[in-house]
């Protein structure tokens, strides 16, 4: 009897030791360069690589759907996307996936929320800057600034009310042949939000999805700690300016220091102020924290184009939303609750 008890106890002890030995969740990561013309990083904690790889592949596939629908530079076989809509400006309505209509209606609301500082109808202006920037990157010696008159002429074709969506017919139409849609300011956040809320409803936790600095986080790490999301120092990319501790929140940064080109020694970046038609010059970077990635993406662009008072007023008017600004001299400023998220060393 004693022998039985002691052997049973020993067996239980050994079994529990072995269970404690099995590796806990490990961090895995996957990187993609072909989504939204930027770097996408999916990170997640799983017990084994196969589970992570399969989840990452699923996330990649879903993001690819949005990438193709929102693309304004490429056509894809059998898919009518925003480029198709733009190519048919002044010609005919285009039947598109409902996701595009959802995005455009969201974008119209974003335009109203930000008093026009985020405007997806600015494609005609942005295209001029895009061409100059792409040329300037390839041919730095002959980089040029867009013609002012051309920018002004293009700005006459940027009325967001002229994007005609018909949800029941499933179509989008641009009656103005000189108008084009550019969702660069909202597309990444919108896609990230769609994917993250879908993953969340499936009960997935312990993952982060970063699309070009648009980060959404699902739950916490398996050990119960928050995710650490760094905010880059615009003037020294080698180490973060500060680190934020978040869970179930999105962190989105708009910055001028990575996507730019140089003309006569001066940098011209990619966030164009709708009022001046030139790259916004007040800020080096704006970071927004929000439970909603699509809202955070809209706000980071909007604040980048606004002076601090206007931007602060907007942020403080919205619940659960915080922001930080870094100006051209490297000074930082925070909305009322932003500093609560900063991790101290």
């Amino acid at each position: 009897m004693k022998k039985t008890i002691s052997f049973t106890l020993a067996a239980v002890l050994i079994a529990s030791l072995l269970c404690g030995c099995s590796p806990k969740e490990k961090r895995f990561q996957a990187t993609y360069l072909d989504l939204f013309d930027t770097v996408t990083v999916i990170a997640g904690y799983e017990r084994d690589k196969d589970t992570f790889d399969s989840n990452a592949a699923m996330i990649y596939r879903e993001l690819s759907v949005y990438n193709q629908l929102f693309d304004i530079y490429n056509n894809y076989d059998g898919i009518s996307n925003i480029k198709t809509v733009n190519d048919n400006a002044g010609i005919a309505p285009v039947k598109v996936d409902e996701k595009i209509i959802d995005l455009l209606e969201f974008s119209k609301a974003a335009y109203d929320l930000t008093s026009g500082q985020v405007n997806v109808a600015m494609g005609s202006v942005l295209r001029i800057w895009h061409e100059a920037r792409e040329y300037g990157a390839e041919h730095p010696e002959s980089a040029y600034l867009p013609d002012k008159a051309a920018l002004f002429e293009a700005s006459k074709h940027t009325d967001i009310q002229n994007i005609v969506t018909d949800r029941s017919a499933g179509t989008v139409f641009l009656p103005d042949s000189s108008m084009s849609i550019d969702v660069g300011a909202v597309g990444k956040g919108y896609a990230a939000q769609a994917i993250c809320s879908s993953l969340k409803s499936e009960g997935i936790s312990g993952y982060t999805v970063s699309i070009g600095g648009n980060v959404c986080t699902l739950g916490k790490k398996p050990d119960g700690t928050q995710w650490s999301v760094g905010v880059s120092d615009p003037e020294d990319a080698s180490s973060p300016l500060l680190t934020l501790g978040v869970s179930d929140l999105s962190v989105v940064t708009s910055g001028s220091y990575q996507r730019f080109y140089t003309v006569d020694g001066a940098k011209y970046h990619h966030i164009i102020d709708p009022d001046t038609l030139y790259p916004s010059s007040q800020w080096l970077s704006v970071t927004v924290i929000s439970p909603d990635s699509s809202l955070a993406d809209v706000l980071s662009t909007a604040l980048f184009n606004m002076d601090e008072n206007t931007g602060r007023e907007l942020i403080e008017s919205l619940p659960d939303t915080e922001a930080m600004w870094i100006d051209a001299d490297g000074n930082t400023d925070f909305s009322s609750g932003f500093e609560d998220f900063i991790l101290k060393d």
């Binding site: 002691s6 052997f7 020993a10 002890l13 050994i14 030791l17 072995l18 404690g20 030995c21 590796p23 806990k24 490990k26 961090r27 990561q29 990187t31 993609y32 360069l33 072909d34 930027t38 770097v39 990083v41 990170a43 300037g136 990157a137 390839e138 730095p140 020294d236 990319a237 080698s238 180490s239 990575q258 996507r259 730019f260 080109y261 140089t262």
Partner: protein, 116 residues
């Protein structure tokens, strides 16, 4: 009546449990490490090279769009120079931990730290 409290078989059992426990701890510690073992370089999503962090090395990453010069020194990885327009890869500085990455978007180069 055999009232020995502590028998030889008990001693063997206790010793066995301790050995198993020690082995488990050792296996666990070896299987989970935070710092990485090698730098993984991909170009346009395809594996280009794998270099151990333990050996100092230099390598030209040649992609259709240009060159990024990689350096491994004292367990840290960085791009010392590149012919891409904005030098984001160079400005990223040194990486050495899993999860860190250096990207050159125009050249479609990604450098990450991995462990076996």
């Amino acid at each position: 009546m055999n009232t020995k409290i502590f028998r030889k078989s008990d001693a063997i059992l206790i010793a066995a449990v301790i050995v198993i426990a020690a082995a488990c701890i050792l296996i666990f510690k070896l299987s989970y490490s935070g710092s990485g073992d090698f730098a993984l370089i991909t170009v346009d999503g395809e594996e280009y090279a794998e270099l151990p962090l333990s050996d100092d090395a230099e390598l030209d990453i040649v992609s259709p769009c240009g060159i990024n010069h990689l350096v491994i020194q004292s367990g840290e990885v960085y791009v010392s120079h590149a012919d891409c327009p904005n030098q984001v890869c160079v400005n990223t500085g040194k990486i050495s931990e899993e999860g860190e990455l250096i990207v050159c978007l125009p050249h479609k180069v990604v450098i990450t730290i991995e462990s076996k």
